[in-house]
Every structure is written in structure tokens, then in C-alpha cells.
Symmetry: C2
Subunit: 456 residues, 2 copies
């Protein structure tokens, strides 16, 4: 176990994600498919909505009958019927005719638009008492009401055409993308009751360290409770995967080896939450190297916090040795591990920068950074309070700040603190990435923040 | 049912959320508490971490023994022991002494700091072979190794003090806030195995309209499948609540009344997904008014899309009549209904503006807006590609754009389209709010976008 591994950059490590394959596919009812990852492209099997629909209450007309109509010079149209919701009209509209229609109703043949009810007035009869009539019925109606049209409509005005939402044959959903409510709604519109999705991956968590005790035990002096199993489980849940706990393994080679084998057998990715000491890392590498069909891919990443991260490929599955400090382990999960999980989940794009929106914010303090490594600084985000131009956190001595502060509303306050302090993550709303070729960022700089989920 | 209701502003409606109470409380194991809402304040029952811990591998020392140490003038300290992980050292450190320690190890009495191993060199012995020794043992050691210290440390350097993360008695978690992985980790650190949380609310969905058919049926011409039940269910899932479907109710007063009663009985909030026609709205208001102990609070909101929204208070529960257009219903859920759900979920702060981070972006096109109503425009977000200063979408004819474009990386492209087209929501990454006193926003303006969940 005397290999020396060169510390790799974040970019080098990210490229390794493509070595791992997505989980297998299953079919689920669409009501269970929310926020799952679609596993096949979906095409429209028919036009949506499938018929010409009104988007307003009013009168279905042929637009040419209304051209030139105005308040002072209204068009007069014969009201030949009223269209019931959900029914296909049994009559058609000729020039000079109209039919009463509600929002969502189907336009009769010959009608290409709807005049809003607000731009009409019925003369000589209650058109609402009319029901759908066909040509013959109409001949029997002794008195036909008339509607005055005060505003012309263009062809297709106030309607959705039969293939305006989606056309038959068009690709409507893309494999490897997230199924949001609207994507599932679209599947519903096509009558798709089940969707092919990637299975939900399971992620094993093995806690190691002679100093770690279960949370329901009172730790003796020198020991601490198992925090990282819970923070990691939460991050796995947040990412849409299933955490599986393998307990606390003492620093014993055989015990860790057996736990790794079991976890690799039962899950799609394994996290070893270990100590941050050199001895602990060597121990993890030794155990990983002794696993069958396993290759150490990464032993150290040029990021802070999180440098002592280990990645091995065991068969087709990634197995990670994470740093022991609670903040380091969380940052490494968000920044390094998550893209690999995204790959396993079946997402097309698996880089965190592509997969989440960064929030531009103005930095409130200078932050120094060492060259040659990528730093992730926890930040608290806050919004400018209207009229509070003298916010004590931000001052106005800096010209860039002065230029931006009135347009810009989000500020990022760096949280300085040791990566062993969970307090700093409890305070944080996001992470500021400082690139490896950057010496630091300054108060007033516009920076892009990686958001941590918050809701208050 | 001839009441005329004045259309209310978004702000007026938002104030009504406080009329509704949070659901009741339950205790759950912390491993099931992720992203639940905490229902009581939590105080630290003891200091965290509870003892002075090393944050580096190295030597535990009294910092005063290292003052003035440098490469050219090292301090020489006696190595009197080595501290095993998870153990309380049985010896203490005097001036001039050191003990080998790993990251996470407990400092002995008398030691206030750790010298990093990189700044030391052991002379005359393998200190690692030493185990914890007490004063008497030490007297029996014939040869005591020495460590050269090349850099001084300050008091508390490279350690976390016993109460540095949290102090006993300090409030560590606040009732009404979201339990993220880090908050749950903090509870774990304190040995809290169960947390009091608000129950997960159930939200009933009733679909109405004679034109609506279940998704597994082939709609006849003039009918469409039930899309809104699915998009609303997805939004409820996304918000952390449980959707309960009550099926499609034909436009029949008694049937809708019974469905409302059942849904109000079984859930914490009810959504009626109805048509957008005036007749349909009147019908919904009539049914709501005939429910026992029910008051219509809102009948129309000055927003677009979403104006024909109805809110009633039935007993202690909100019941909504949502507009029928798919986009309108989704926008109303995100903007109007969600704050009420947040209130029911137990969150301290329930306004969407407080509860989510808005993303500043540069608008790529002018968008007109009517005064007197708040508009929500769907937008697609995209990032500037490095070096792509001639992005065809944004041009550079506008001076504000020119000023901001190099600093700013996110652009918002308005998606124009009818609110009956689900396509526009499938394309959208967020919503642009245009206030009721604003006539429009211009290309190049810095705007704040309400994000819709995306992952690609």
C-alpha cells in the first residue's frame, strides 16, 4: 500500500463519472413518476389538444365575418347555436353566423376564432337558451337571435388550434431528464398511464472510526456521536436516492472489508464515512485495494475542504472514502459525489454546474484562497431590504459594489469557520466556489453561489 | 349567488394565509425527519463536541512551548505519549512536552493546540510506537523521543474547543424551520433520536368539468384528458405534501358538494380544478357557498394568468377553485396557494418571496404588462457561454445590457404563449413577476426570477 497518488483536480475527477453506468429501468404509474428520471424518449401519439378549443367565453365565428367591426360600426351575426362543454358541435358556422361558446369548448367547423363576450351584445333573444342545433333544427327555429360584434378578431384569435400544444409525432419528452409536474401532465394529456424511468438508486453508508458511537449512546470523553451517517443520508434523500445504513465499523480491516462487500452487493454506490487522519485514510485505501475487481481512481482532490477524498471503482460501482469532518463530507458530497450519483440515476447531464442554477450574488467580505486548489466557502444569502441602502454588512466604499447594489438584490456573506463545525453548515444557504487559479475574491465582487436547499 | 366580489390584489390574498392553522404535531425518528418542518425549538443539552479535539494530525502541545519556534530556531519538545482515537488521554501535557495526536483525537489536559505534523520532525525515536502513558509509566520509559517544532501555534490553533460548535443551553434549532441534512446532523450530535415535526398535510384534488375524461380513456372529440389532476399532484409532492385524488366530478351540484364534503373531511386543504368559463366559476362559488360553515374569501385575483381564482374557508380549512387552463392552475398554485400550504405545514414564514431564493437574470426581450395586475411570465433561463459575447439572443444594442453582460451569467428568455398550452410550462425554468404598477420590463433589465424546479 505504498502507491503515491497525485492529487487530482476537480475537473479531472468529474471526468471519471462517465465510467459508471445508470441503474436499470422500470415502469411506474405516472402518479408515482414525479421527479423521477425518464428512461426513454416519448413522442406525441396524437395532436394535443386534438381539436380547436376556445380560450375565452364568447362567440365562435369565422373571423372574416368580423373584419372592420367596431363600437361605432358593429358586425351583426346570426346566433345559430350554443356549444355545450365536452361536446362536438353537430352544426357548422357559415359566414355571418356565430355560436355561443365557453372557455374550453370545441369550435364548430367553419369557425376559426372566438369573439370575447365582453365585445358583444345579444339583440332580440337570450342566446343562452339555445342548445346545439343542426341545420335542419335551425330551419325550425322561428326566431333567430342576433349578436352585435364590437371588435374584429383575427384567424385563430382566442382559440388553441388542434395541434398547437403538441403535434403528432413530435418528441415531447427526452430520456434522461427530470419528470416535473408539467412533464407528467403532458404524458397524461397523451393518455400515457405508465412511464419508463430509471430505478431509484440505493446508496450505502458505512461509518468508520474508533471514536464514533451510535447516536442513542452517551459518548465517553474522547468519543463523538455518528453525525455523518445522518448528514449523508439527508443529502442522499435530497438527491432523490435511498440511503442504506451499514452501521459503525471499528477500525478493523476484516470488519470494514466485509461491510464493503455487503454494501457493494446490496446498493449502487457506497460511501465510507471515515476519519480525516492520515492513518485512517491509509487504512481505507488498504481495504479498498484488497476488494476483488477494484481499482483506486482518486486519492486526494485539490479542493478545500475535502482534499482527503478517495474514489475506487469496484466492478461497475463507485465506492468513496469521504473525509471525516462533517462540513468536508457534506461539501464533497454536493460537489464531487453528486455528479456520479446523477450519472447512476440516469440523468443526461451530470455535472453539478449544469444541473443546478447558480445564484449570482454580491460578496460582502474579501475571501482569500490558495492557488492550485478549488475552495468552497459556505455563505449566508440575504436580500437587500427596500430602502436599506446603508446596510451595515455591505457598506459602500467599493465602486463596483456601488454600481451594482441598487440593481442587485442578493448578497453573499462568507461564513468563516472550521470544517469540523456543523454550525457553519446550519448557518449556510450556499457555497461559493473559488477556482484553483484565483487568489481570492473581493468584497463587492459578483459571484455565483451554489445553493443549498433552504425554505425559510 | 348574486354577490359581486371585488377582485383582490395578490398582497391582499397573501394576508389571508394567517387565518389558517398548522397541522398537528408528531414525533418521528430523525432518519425520517429530512425536509420535515420542526415543531419545537431545540436547545443544546450539552456542549458540542464536548471535548477539545484536534483538527489536524500532529502534536498536542501547550502553545506557549512553541512561541518563537521557526525553521532556523525550532522548539524541542519531549514526546510523552500518543493519543488513540476515541480515548480520553490518561496523562496531561506540561510545558516542554508534546503528545502525538490524529485528527479528531482528544487533547490531553494542559494542551491547548496542535502543531501540524508537516511542521515537525521526530528526533531519536519512533513516537508512533508510544502508547498513552501516565506519569508513572513515563518514569519507567528509559528513552523519551523528542520532536522538533518548526512553527509556533497560537492558543486553540488546529483544535475545536469543547463548546465551539454549540454551547449547552444554546437554542440550536428553531420551530417552524426546514430540517435539512445539517440540522438533522446537529440533532444526531446531541443524541436526539426523535424530533417533533408537523404532520405531512394531505391536499385533496377534485377535478370538475363535463369535458374532462380520465387519462386511460380515449376522449371523444370535444373532450380532453384530465391533465390538471396530475400537474397539481406533482406540485403538491414537490411542496412536501400528499395529494389525494377525488376523481372527476361532472358539472352536477350535488356530486360536487358531496366530493367537497368528503375531501374536506379527509384532507387539510382542497383544490377544485375547474373550468375557466364564467358558468363554471359561478357553479363552483354556488357549491362552496352551500357548504356548512363556509365563507368565500376571494373571488378573483388581479394576476395574470390566474384571475378567476376562488378561495373559501370551510371550518378551519382552505378550499380553492382554481382556473382551468393548465398554466394558470400551475402559476396560481406556485404563487397563491403555496403560501397557504406553507402555513398549514407549520413554516414560520409562508410568503413565497421569503421562502425561496429568486434568481437575478438579464431579460432578453421586452415584455409588456397591463397596469393594475401582477403578471407572471414563463421564462427559460440560460447561462452565458464563456467567450460567447455575441449571443444572438441578447445582442448588445442596449447600454444596461452592455454594462452587465460580462459580469452577469444568467439570462431570462420570456416564453410567450397561451395559458392553455402545457408546452410553455415544459419549456419554462422559472417565472418572471411583473408588479401591478409596472407597465412592462425591457430587454437588458435585471429581473428576479422565481425558479421552477429543474435539474438538467
Amino acid at each position: 500500500m505504498n502507491h503515491f497518488f497525485k492529487v487530482q483536480s476537480l475537473e479531472q475527477v468529474a471526468l471519471l463519472a462517465h465510467q459508471f453506468a445508470a441503474v436499470t429501468i422500470e415502469k411506474v404509474p405516472i402518479s408515482d413518476s414525479f421527479f423521477r428520471v425518464l428512461a426513454k424518449d416519448i413522442e406525441a401519439t396524437h395532436d394535443i389538444p386534438g381539436f380547436r378549443r376556445a380560450t375565452m367565453d364568447g362567440y365562435a365565428v369565422n373571423s372574416s365575418s368580423t373584419f372592420g367591426a367596431s363600437e361605432s360600426n358593429p358586425a351583426w351575426l346570426e346566433v345559430i347555436g350554443s356549444i355545450s362543454m365536452g361536446e362536438s358541435p353537430s352544426f357548422s358556422i357559415q359566414s355571418g353566423q356565430a355560436a355561443k361558446i365557453s372557455t374550453g369548448g370545441m369550435l364548430p367547423d367553419g369557425a376559426d376564432s372566438v369573439v370575447m363576450v365582453e365585445h358583444t351584445e345579444v339583440i332580440g333573444g337570450e342566446s343562452s337558451s339555445l342548445t346545439g342545433v343542426d341545420r335542419e333544427d335551425k330551419a325550425q327555429v322561428s326566431y333567430i337571435p342576433t349578436v352585435e360584434i364590437y371588435k374584429s378578431v383575427a384567424p385563430l384569435q382566442n382559440v388553441i388550434d388542434k395541434d398547437e400544444d403538441f403535434k403528432k409525432g413530435e418528441k415531447i419528452l427526452t430520456s434522461g431528464t427530470l419528470l416535473r409536474p408539467q412533464e407528467v401532465g403532458l404524458a397524461a394529456a397523451l393518455g400515457i398511464c405508465e412511464l419508463p424511468v430509471y430505478k431509484i438508486p440505493k446508496v450505502g453508508i458505512i461509518s468508520t472510526g474508533d471514536e464514533i458511537v451510535p447516536i442513542d449512546k452517551t459518548p465517553q470523553l474522547g468519543k463523538i456521536r455518528d453525525i455523518n451517517s445522518y448528514t449523508l443520508a439527508g443529502l442522499i434523500v435530497e438527491a432523490g436516492a435511498i440511503p442504506v445504513q451499514y452501521g459503525i465499523i471499528k477500525d478493523n480491516e476484516e470488519a470494514l472489508l466485509n461491510a464493503c462487500k455487503k454494501a457493494l452487493d446490496e446498493t449502487d454506490m457506497v460511501l465510507i464515512s471515515g476519519g480525516s487522519s492520515v492513518g485512517n485514510r491509509d487504512f481505507t485505501v488498504k481495504v479498498l485495494s484488497s476488494l476483488k475487481d477494484t481499482e483506486i481512481l482518486v486519492h486526494g482532490i485539490s479542493i478545500s475542504p475535502g482534499k482527503p477524498t478517495i474514489l475506487a471503482k469496484s466492478g461497475i460501482k463507485p465506492i468513496w472514502g469521504l473525509p471525516g469532518h462533517v462540513v468536508s463530507a457534506m461539501v464533497v458530497f454536493k460537489i464531487v459525489v453528486l455528479p456520479f450519483l446523477r450519472q447512476i440515476q440516469g440523468f443526461i447531464s451530470c455535472k453539478p454546474k449544469d444541473s443546478s442554477i447558480l445564484i449570482p450574488a454580491i460578496l460582502t467580505k474579501n475571501v482569500a484562497s490558495a492557488q492550485g486548489r478549488t475552495d468552497f466557502v459556505r455563505v449566508k444569502l440575504f436580500r437587500k431590504i427596500d430602502g436599506d441602502s446603508n446596510n451595515s454588512n455591505v457598506g459602500n466604499s467599493n465602486s463596483q459594489y456601488s454600481t451594482l447594489k441598487d440593481k442587485y438584490e442578493i448578497f453573499a456573506e462568507p461564513i468563516l469557520g472550521k470544517s469540523g463545525l456543523i454550525r457553519t453548515m446550519v448557518m449556510a444557504d450556499g457555497l461559493l466556489e473559488i477556482g484553483e487559479n484565483v487568489e481570492g475574491v473581493e468584497r463587492g465582487d459578483l459571484v455565483n453561489i451554489i445553493p443549498l436547499r433552504t425554505l425559510e
